[in-house]
Amino acid sequence: MATIQSIAGENEQHPDVALVERVRTGDVSAYDTLVRKYDRQIFRIAQHITQNREDAEDVMQDAFLKAYEKIDQFQGNSKFYTWLVRIAVNESLMRLRKRRTGKMVSIDEDIETEEGSVPRDLADWAPDPEQNYSQTELAEILRKTIQGLPQGFRIVFVLRDVEGLSTEETAETLGLSVPAVKSRLLRARLQLRERLSRYFRRKRVPKEMGVDK
């Protein structure tokens, strides 16, 4: 998923730029278009961070409202989407903080673990291992697995690999350095791989796990 675009974009203007301009002149229907374009992604990101559906609903509304209120502050030197994601990440962290009655929550939480830094489970996976599970079972496995990642790894993985932001955009969005994003991404990928191996390895998948064949 190529996401790195020419930074200057001299001759090509991102379609969002025109929509943002229209919003600035008071055209609410242009904002309607932007909301429809990005609502699913923002909802997903909020769920990944808060791990709670009601919180994700609130975050999605608050993030879009805040972006609308602050649209004049959008500089245009980053993409509108990246700017919006940054707002949604901050709103999600604030929501978590509220839930934990004021305890600080940051994206650096729990990242000291060395788990998964060196691959241990080296069994190969079955071909198309996801075929061995129903959609519901698979979604549950994927949810459970990613929820077990330390927050600071999970956010990087979600933004970079699931939502397709570039390494630079992820760094900018989270206020991290590019090397920090790269290091977290590698560890997130390896930890997820290690944890998924439990379900996807080639042999001895117990029948009661819902194997079809």
Binding site: F43, F64, L122, L142, I146, L190, L192
Partner: protein
């Protein structure tokens, strides 16, 4: 190239941001190392599975409700 050196470049290989020379070195290592081959293929698969499966969907009715709430407040000037 050792497995540790390979692992340090795993992300660059997956993200296709290695030079042709480096790619050749990595491929050379893979030819003789089943462990790294498995790590590479299963890590790629991990990313692909997460990209292609919606684990937190936004059902149409909820989407419309949230959308209406957002736009109603925007129209009122928030």
């Amino acid at each position: 190239m050792t497995c540790t050196e390979f692992l340090a470049l795993l992300d660059d290989l997956i993200d296709d941001s290695v030079t042709p020379e480096m790619r050749a070195e990595l491929q050379q290592h893979l030819k003789g190392c089943e462990h790294c081959e498995v790590t590479l293929s299963t890590t790629r698969k991990t990313i692909e599975i997460y990209r292609s499966h919606e684990i937190y969907d936004l059902p149409p009715s909820l989407r419309e409700r949230l959308h209406a709430a957002i736009m109603a407040r925007c129209k009122k000037g928030c």
